[in-house]
Each structure stands twice: as C-alpha cells, then as structure tokens.
Symmetry: C2
C-alpha cells in the first residue's frame, strides 16, 4: 500500500505523540516535529507509511539516546495481556467453536497498538476484547482453518507487544510444530521483538525469529535474508495488524491478514469500516 495524502497529517501527529512519550524535553519535540515535516514533504509517497515511521523512530532513538524507548510500556502491555489471556483461556475452551474464539481474540488483541494511539485506556481494551467474541466478523473462517490444516510451514507475523499474548491463544489452536513466529528485528514503537515473545512464553511454545528490520511492518527489502527465505518458503502466512497489512497488501504470497481496522485509509483499502475485525486472504 502506498502512502495516501491523508496519511501525512496523521504521521505528523504520531511523530509528536511518540516523541512526547519518550521524553519531556520540548526542544527534542520541536526537532522531531520539524524533521518529520521536512521528511514528509520530501518522501516518496509510493512506499507505505511504515517506511516513513521507521525513519522517524530511528531518529527519535538517535536524538534521545534511548535504544528501546517503549520498553517499559511493552513490559506493562505484556503483563496486562497475560492476565487477560489467563482469564480468557477457559472461555475459549468452553466456546461452541474454540478455534473461532481464539481467532477472534487474536484479532481483538491488535487493539494494543501505541502507534495509532499513544495512550491506551485499560477499560477500553477490556471492553473491546470482551466484545470481540460477539462482534460482527465477516470472514471465511472455514477456509482459514482449511488453509492452516493443509499447510506444512506456517509463518506467523506478529505485530505488537501485549497483542503477542493473544497471538499465543491462537497459536495454541494451530498445529504448533508447523508454526514459526516472526517478530521485528529491532525496537520500534511497541512492536513485538524477541524479548516480548519470551515475556509471554511464546518462545517456549514455537520457534520465534526476528525479521531483521526495525520497521513497524514487514518491508521485505529491509528484512534479513533468513527471514525472506522463510517468507518465500511458507505454505501460508498469517499477518497481524495494520503495519504488516500496509507493507504486504500487494504481496503475491498466500497471506491471511488479521487485523482491527484503526484508520479510515486502511478501512477504504479493505472496503470496510474503522473499528471492524478483519480476516482477509491476500
């Protein structure tokens, strides 16, 4: 997906939100704001917004000297998500269709995204996850499970810290010996890295690899050769969240996109509405 004109004011707002989250220093806020405006004015709109976000967050880390500015937030999100998942696991087991319940919860967990909204209200997260089991969900769930059961190599592209605990609920329903989870290769916003996969116990359950990139999405040109080989060899790919969707929506690989729609541009691109849970085959 390219960068739409409407993404630009949003990228500027996100930059300001992000730098404020990382430091209280107003001079740094101004520097980042001016730089992101200049970068945005000169950027190639043919690349996805995630490419711009990658540059921006590198610059925030450089200016503040903090390698992983969202580390504390990610630890908090992981801990909270694990609590929620603990109480949800019996609900999955008791559901009429446990696999569908796990799928819905994995998508619901995509609400834990500090890229779109800097502060996450816990009540809002709880309600959203509570509602997800009964929300409308236009998806060919039968075809999804058929694709999963027929695959030898499933590549699961995680999105955010916190959310990755919900991914675990879904992975527990998959033939786990066939699953490899890929996380970001470096810290960016609250996107999940190897540390997060370990924190939520996912690394004990399945193979987890980094993708070699610090973009908040999957920019294949920026990923490691090792990741790209896995990506090319997978029989089926699960892609979580907007960042992965933005960067892979034009891929020819057999990808299932699982996400919560958080912006009107993505909603239009997917021909759906903001707020909806989406399961979509590429």
């Amino acid at each position: 997906m390219k960068t739409f004109f409407d993404c630009l004011p949003c990228l500027v707002r996100q930059a300001l939100d992000s730098v404020r989250m990382v430091t209280d220093d107003e001079q740094t806020h101004e520097t980042i704001l001016r730089e992101v405006l200049q970068m945005a004015g000169a950027m190639d709109f043919g690349v996805p917004p995630a490419a711009m976000a990658q540059r921006l967050h590198r610059r925030i880390r450089e200016l503040t000297g903090i390698d992983d500015p969202y580390r504390e937030a990610k630890d908090r999100l992981n801990a909270r998500a694990m609590e929620l998942c603990e109480s949800l696991r019996p609900r999955i087991a008791g559901a009429a269709d446990p696999m569908e319940a796990a799928l819905r919860l994995a998508i619901a967990g995509n609400i834990m995204d500090l890229g779109v909204k800097t502060s996450l209200d816990d009540g809002h997260v709880c309600r959203s996850i509570e509602n997800c089991l009964n929300e409308p969900f236009e998806a060919d769930i039968g075809a999804f499970w058929e694709a999963m059961s027929g695959a030898e190599r499933i590549l699961y592209l995680a999105d955010n810290a916190g959310e990755i605990a919900f991914d675990r609920l879904l992975i527990e329903q998959l033939p786990r010996e066939k699953v490899t989870v890929a996380v970001r290769g470096g810290a960016v916003i609250n996107d999940a890295t190897l540390d997060d996969a370990e924190e939520v116990g996912l690394a004990d359950l399945v193979e987890v690899i980094g993708n070699g990139s610090d973009a908040p999405g999957t920019l294949l040109d920026d990923c490691s050769d090792g990741f790209c080989e896995r990506f090319a060899a997978a029989d089926v790919i699960l892609s979580k969240g907007q960042g992965n969707y933005e960067t892979l929506s034009e891929s020819a690989r057999p990808i299932w996109f699982l996400l919560r729609v958080k912006c009107p541009i993505i909603a239009r691109h997917l021909e759906t509405e903001v707020g909806r849970m989406v399961l979509r085959r590429s």
Copy 2:
C-alpha cells in the same frame, strides 16, 4: 498566540482539505501538501497559525489561478444564514433578554467556519444555532453591554461569510451609528470580505471597511494603515472567532472576544472546553 506543536498536524490536514475543496487535480493536492509540509517544518512557531494559513491559501490561489476559491461556498453560506436569521429575528424580539439572545446568536453563527471543517452539515448548523439560546454561557454579559453603551467608537471584527448575517443580529442591538465593521481585505478560506457584508445587507446598516489583509485573522503588521488607525482609536473592539482570537489574544487594546471554541489548543488557552461559546474580555 503562538503556534503550538499540536497545530502543525492540524494545519497540514486543513491544507489538504482546502486544496481538495478548490480543485480535483491530484497533482495540485500533492504540490500543496509537499509545500505546506516544507513550510511548516521551517516556520516560526512564534507567530499565530493564521500567518501560516495566510501563506498557504495565497499559494493555493496562485497554483489554481482562482482568486476567490470559496466564493460559491460563501454565497451559499450567506443565503442560508439570512434564511436562518429571518426566522430568528422574531425569537430575539420575543426573548426575555433580546440583547443576550442576539449576543448568543452572534457567537452561535461562528459555527459557519470552513477553515476548521471543510464541509458543513446544515442539520448540524441548525441544531447548534437552535441550542445556543439555552446552552451554558459563562460570560459577564452585563459588563459587555456596559462597555458597548459607554463607547463612542465600536470596532467589530467580523470573521466568516454566513456568520456575518448573525453578526448583523447583534449589531442591530448596538448603537449602530457608533459601529464600524471590519472584514478581511482579501479572500481567504470563507472569511468575510466586503462582498459578504453587502450580501447580508450589513453595508446598508453600518460603515464597513476592509482590513487590508488576506490573513484568516487580524495580523496587525499585515493590515492597512487605515485599519490600524481605527483599531488604535476604537473605545471597544469586538473580535469574532478563533482566527481573530489567535492573532489578537496578546493585544493591549480593550477587546471582547466572541467565539465558539473549535480546537483543543484554543480551549486550553481560554481554560474552557471544545464546543463552548465564549465571551471574554482581553
């Protein structure tokens, strides 16, 4: 008022809204978007957002070759506002306090602002104006009327087309021989100019002057000498809307600001909430 960091994403969004309103040509949209991002990145944050908006709208007019791109929209707003005012005039006459009713309506008319929101929903405008007579309104109305009746020279700084018909309702309650209305000296967004004062019949009622500037506010350095003399000589100044507030909030002149609060930055500056009607002495 200076430009706050949070004004920047909003200015970028407004630029995009504005250029889309003026032309369907995507190349022009991109040119304006890139230029506003570059301008914003290099701008002096010590000046009010209206200074940036002035440059931006000059550039839109230059690129499209249209001198007054909002002319049709302004004609429509004036016509609609005059219809609404026609039905409101008996309500003012029948109100317990006609002067307060006219004051409330003049502030309510400030909803007719295409700078903040590109499209105005007629139903929303009608409801907003209907509600304004009963809304909470923290204001020292007695002191306001005392200032008006004690003044020899009242300078009324109009804001938008459409809104200017509601200003007329208030001016009808003032000692009109003492009132001079100032409008923008050149077309910018849907801000009122001499044409609009004529369209709503205000020019037949009181003296109307242009301020010599095409900024969506009152940037004194950019106004004509004639206007500045009137501004300096007025016993009391009525300033309508956010653009005039932004540009005059630090003035030492005796100004009464009348506006509907439309953004969180102005709300914080005025220590009130978005959506509130405000009457505030400088």
